[in-house]
Subunit: 568 residues, 3 copies
């Protein structure tokens, strides 16, 4: 029986290595069909000269949804952590005295990926297994669920529904081993390889390492992502580190040398001045997310910290902003039983859908066979002195430089046009066959006698309004248009109101109504689609490329006009 045999092999493995080489114990090797169900190694056996005692224990969880989950417990004599090879080498908990890295998820136990369907709950199935302190998100994609594009097996563009935070956290490692240096500082390392590869898809591989030294209050995550394909490949990684009590609590604080803080949505924006402090649990409080960019020192290294209210317990993470340029602070101060938690999440991008992040240049690519490495040093700080020392480090990096706070939420500029249309109350889309098509050109004379050619306004947004002096809804729209003209630059937006009435009639009305935007008159010379306007007010929204973004029929408010131009 393979399982029994593999346990016997362990002692042989220990004795057969040469003293100069690090101790090495292979726990899983898919290629060689090696799999050790249990194993235990101790400092007294492997590093008898180490002053601090330590141990590594491998075992399997059984029962319920944890049936078959491998765990590796590392105890360096001072702190303990648990690695979960079955869940993509995530780390369940880190414990040191009464200090805990981790949180109390509504999901109990470590859920085997065989019970996780990432596609369920409209792409939120990842949450059904979300429990650990540290979960990697990626590698093909991470962030919010939703549709993106990919290249199919015939070389054509096709759409793909991305699921929350990608697949890597639910893929068991193909190779797992523990190594221990035989000489001081006797570094203990748990290594894993997780493959995210298929025909006609990405061929990504991550080598993960989590290591510590006997007696230390620090440990390190050090990963390498490699593109095993002969073609270029997009990728992303986000280190989703999650903290509940005792670090997160009312009055706890986040310290980080923030260069820019961008709330992800309106709800987060409303509280941006308190983005770095934590409130008490509150049932049903919607999560808040802040997208940060951090100052770094001359070596591109930065450090952030989460500390409790009393200031005597903290965790800090130090890493390079070249490797992980974006940092997300996730605050979810709901009731304890619903998952009171905060996430400190350095990544290659922000955790939004890849289709959005790509537009902002935050989806990096790996050339064929290229690798990228990511190293984060964690330290647990116990006692005010230690906590303050870490805060001093952060202040040194910050060096008095300013934090820019964005008022506009990251998500606000990303409303979809279809959402704007759905929300419309007083108007609807019209001239739909023309949407996305180039706006046909025309030349008309304004009420001062000046000629205006549509194509002269190319490069700006253009709003064309068909109206008439006798039209009651048109009257209602005018104040909105006046306000729009006041608050938007001419270089940014051209506004052309067109009436088919007599110029003198229009001119006197414009004066009385104090209309501050261009008013043209037409005598039936316009081409389609303008000559098919059969109801007023009707409007055309033309984008900077000269394409008709939307045609509308009915009265539109200032807010909706802005939303249409900003929408995607």
């Amino acid at each position: 029986m393979l399982r029994l045999a593999s346990i016997i092999a362990l002692s042989v493995g220990i004795s057969s290595v040469r003293a100069a080489e690090p101790f090495r114990l292979v726990l899983t090797d898919v290629e060689q069909n090696i799999y050790k169900e249990t194993a235990e190694i101790t400092g007294s056996d492997v590093t008898p000269k180490s002053p601090a005692s330590w141990s590594v224990r491998k075992y399997v969880l059984h029962g319920g949804r944890q049936e078959g989950v491998d765990v590796i417990e590392v105890n360096n004599g001072k702190l303990r952590f648990t690695v979960v090879p079955t869940r993509g080498m995530s780390v369940h908990r880190v414990l040191m005295g009464d200090l805990r890295l981790g949180w109390d998820s509504p999901v109990k136990g470590l859920v085997h990926p065989k019970y996780i369907n990432l596609e369920t709950r409209q792409g939120l199935g990842w949450l059904e297994g979300f429990n650990e302190w540290m979960v990697r998100c990626g590698l093909e994609f991470f962030g919010g669920p939703g549709t993106d594009e990919f290249i199919d097996n015939t070389g054509k563009k096709a759409t793909m529904d991305l699921t929350l935070h990608g697949k890597i956290a639910n893929i068991p490692a193909s190779q797992v081993e523990v190594t221990v240096e035989r000489e001081a500082p006797y570094r203990i390392t748990v290594r894993g390889r997780v493959d995210e590869a298929l025909l006609h898809g990405p061929k990504l591989e991550i080598l993960t390492q989590i290591s510590t030294t006997p007696g230390a209050d620090t440990f390190r995550i050090s990963d390498k992502v490699t593109n095993r394909s002969a073609i270029e490949q997009e990728f992303g990684i986000l280190y989703h580190g999650n903290y509940g009590p005792p670090l997160m609590e009312k009055g706890a604080k986040f310290f980080g040398p923030a260069r820019q803080v961008t709330p992800i949505n309106e709800h987060s924006a409303s509280d941006v001045s308190n983005y770095d402090v934590y409130r008490a649990p509150k049932a049903g409080f919607p999560e808040q997310v802040y997208c940060l960019q951090l100052w770094a020192d001359e070596d591109d290294r930065t450090k952030v910290m989460l500390r409790n209210a009393a200031g005597d317990k903290a965790v800090s993470m130090a890493y390079s902003v070249k490797e992980l340029p974006f940092f997300t602070l996730w605050k979810n101060p709901v009731a304890a039983e619903d998952g009171y938690v905060t996430g400190l999440e350095p990544g290659t991008g922000f955790p939004r859908n890849r289709s959005i992040e790509r537009k902002f240049g935050r989806v990096p690519k790996l050339a064929p066979h290229q690798s990228r490495s990511f190293t984060i040093n964690f330290a647990l700080h116990s006692g005010k002195d230690q906590v303050n020392a870490a805060a001093d480090d952060i202040a040194r990096i910050w060096a008095g430089r300013k934090t820019k706070f964005d008022k506009i939420p990251l998500a606000a500029s990303k409303t979809s046009l279809s959402d704007v249309i759905k929300a419309a109350r007083t108007w609807g889309p019209a001239f739909t066959p023309w949407h996305g098509k180039p706006a046909p050109d025309f030349t008309l004379t304004d009420i001062t006698g000046k000629k205006h050619k549509l194509s002269d306004y190319k490069g700006r947004n253009i709003l064309i309004i068909f109206w008439a002096t006798w039209c009651r809804p048109c009257h209602m729209e005018i104040p909105h248009l006046i306000e729009l003209r006041k608050t938007t630059s001419e270089d940014d937006l051209a506004m052309l109101a067109i009436s088919n009435e007599r110029p003198d009639l229009v001119k006197s009305f414009v004066a009385r109504a104090e209309m501050n935007y261009t008013v043209l008159t037409d005598t039936g010379t316009l081409p389609g689609p303008y000559n098919t306007v059969s109801a007023i007010p009707s409007s055309f929204f033309i984008d900077r490329d000269g394409k008709i973004k939307l045609g509308t029929s009915g009265l539109i408010s200032l807010e909706d006009i802005k939303a249409i131009f900003e929408a995607e």
Copy 2:
């Protein structure tokens, strides 16, 4: 090795309990990583004084899609049942002599949830594991697949595709134990806890108990559902009990004190008078479903029974209609090899999509930390005397009270508007930007000189028909409209036909055609969208809230008009 160790632990467990307490054997405890692969306990060991011998045996199924499925066989000396912790504590079969509760599913064996993808087959993946006698449906939702709404992690409404009958039957129990009372009646109970919880989702828990006493021909299911969240949570449970031969057969009967019987669709309605009798297997016969509400006694308790054709074998279930107010009778008399089966299904609602059931008030909520309990007592009846005694019980509850039969199927009123539109042959939707918008008001004079203001008809459905005396398709539509007026109350529906021709011309036509609904004439005074009607007949369907439900272009039949007003 953990598995070996856990078996050794069993005998220790038995000996270490005090005599006064019930015997207790923990089979699975995820928190403590307890998992017993096999176990066997017997009456002679645990209850030596019990006159009836009994046994409980735990083992694991291996091979094929049953690999790793835990089963617990309880034999009380008279009847045997098999509990399946891996499949949400469902019950596979109950056997007593030649009496069997259960059915012959096309799915063979007990399928491990790791092989079930609930999302597959357009949300019907649950069927790929559907085999047991008793499956619980729920807890977040149950019923038909389809889209519903939920609140996402930012507090906003989002849609979710619900899958058939929910998740609970495919979640392994986190905690499983067997207890046996040490004194008469020596009740044997199999307990389980199944968790349906995640961040940003429900935190529901069910504690299940199935119990019997040595030598009895009865057993009991007794469950408790708890909301472990600090916020209110919708939930539902339906006990999907399934019976094939020997109980279901040609001439078998369902006995239940039906207060109301509502067929779920037309096919079921066509056979409603035989809802309680069973036909012989017939290849390809589409299933029939009857939604029942049952009479109960003064303690709110009811009882239903399924008995074979000869009347000498039966099963009965007794429970409280306060706990389980709705009862579904599912008849699927297809060929034996395709799953000849009937379901007797008490529940907190009917097994339709949650989005529909919510509208009818059949989706209950649990307050934070609130629990609700459900108990069903089952009895197996062998021999005519026993069967007749159970029938007498049911008659006593019924007490001669009437059964109301609904003629309109439950599903009929639920056609979707988009389905009606898709099925249209002679018309299409028009004026789409106005759909869902308030219908602009107007006042017109009818051919008798009486003024009609649209808004005066608010609270009724309103049909506006644009037509003309010279329009051939309009002529074809008139008999349909006359019939509609005859068969629908004025209080329910206002019908306004509008022509832009001369009133005298229209008046004489109306008389000749014997039009019995309101006919108005217009001289171009109407606002949009009415003034944009460019083809006739065109119609507007305005709902009781005064909103335009649909605009159409083309000839519409009586049936389609009714369907549009009834559709959702």
Copy 3:
């Protein structure tokens, strides 16, 4: 413990059979809960008189995504193959000396189905486990992902999203056994039963057999598919056999008596003359697929072969075209690390979505309880003599008969109308309520005085173009229409251009522009929808059934006109 017990049972099993019967070892039997984790049988034990030694070894893979995968290694003394019961009885590799049947998939190891979600990646999840030499595709459906229809549990039509290549390759076998004949030629057979059955769905079963004889360089796959339902059932099977080096390489060749070769898409069509030769690996090269029908001998038997560049290594497959009438050649000559591979795939149809294949009559049905059998004989050829002998066999079947090459790709005629509309640049859909409705009839006079009645053209495609002599976009469209008329038969397409201008004016313009299609004039007599044309050019595309397939507004090119008529 069941697992230990089952191993002990093995030797008993061996000794208890009678000498006359074949040796039989049951490895899995779900009904009896038999499951052998490991087993080994050898020629010296079972067939001591066999001159060639052989062995069969059953074991389980552990670790990573292969945890729990059963494999059966058969070594006949000359060649070795590995059957994978957990993955639907697929065959991982066949090895004989330096000859290998199989390929180097980007997916490493044999992935347990519990890690496969067929629905992911828009129905391409099958690829996440695709690694083996021979994978069966089917049984309910196979081919490309996409929506098809099925009959739901109420007897109504419903849609279902089919996933790539069906489910059978990710369903573990319910029954597995090895038999060995006790007399020469001592045939060794690995048998499996895989069930694809559920309530309200198919009840399909496949009995698979792979067999060889000691010392042979041949083996045989011999399957039987049975419909276990009382109602008729569609099904399909495709033998997806995959080859990388050493058989596939630059200059390798496919030999097959091709009767017809149809490229699946434009990219494949561009290279059709080289369909049977292989290129060197090229990073990012999109796959090419050729759909073949093969010549067969008088017994309906055919043979195909894949041989390396040097012509000294080959594999051949011989089978009946009655059983497997269609053959797909898949060429994927990407870089080695991305999966350089070719597929030789006999099947009951081509690997496209069932909804398409059904239209071409390539989705067979099984009557209730009907079975169909499929047998393929494989031979490995080593050395030029053997390879040439196999080539001679193929030439004998071919017998000098011709190969027809299709120029039009199989997929080209299948563009969807919605795709054509999406790709439109200069026009958009219009008159949408009329799409799919019968085109109202009319009679108009052409500029030569001849009357044309629309309905007289029934049975042809009809293009109606509304235009005018003064309309600039109409002028631009005319050359396209002239070319269309030149290149399309009158019997196939009627072209009716309609102007509402004076006939004499139109006549002189037509002469000058050398318009070669029918030009009609109208004086306002047309019915709807034609009388609602408000912009020109507008066109109506009427199909052979007289239904309006599409109405458009705007200038349409020759290519788009053809695409609209051809689209589905």
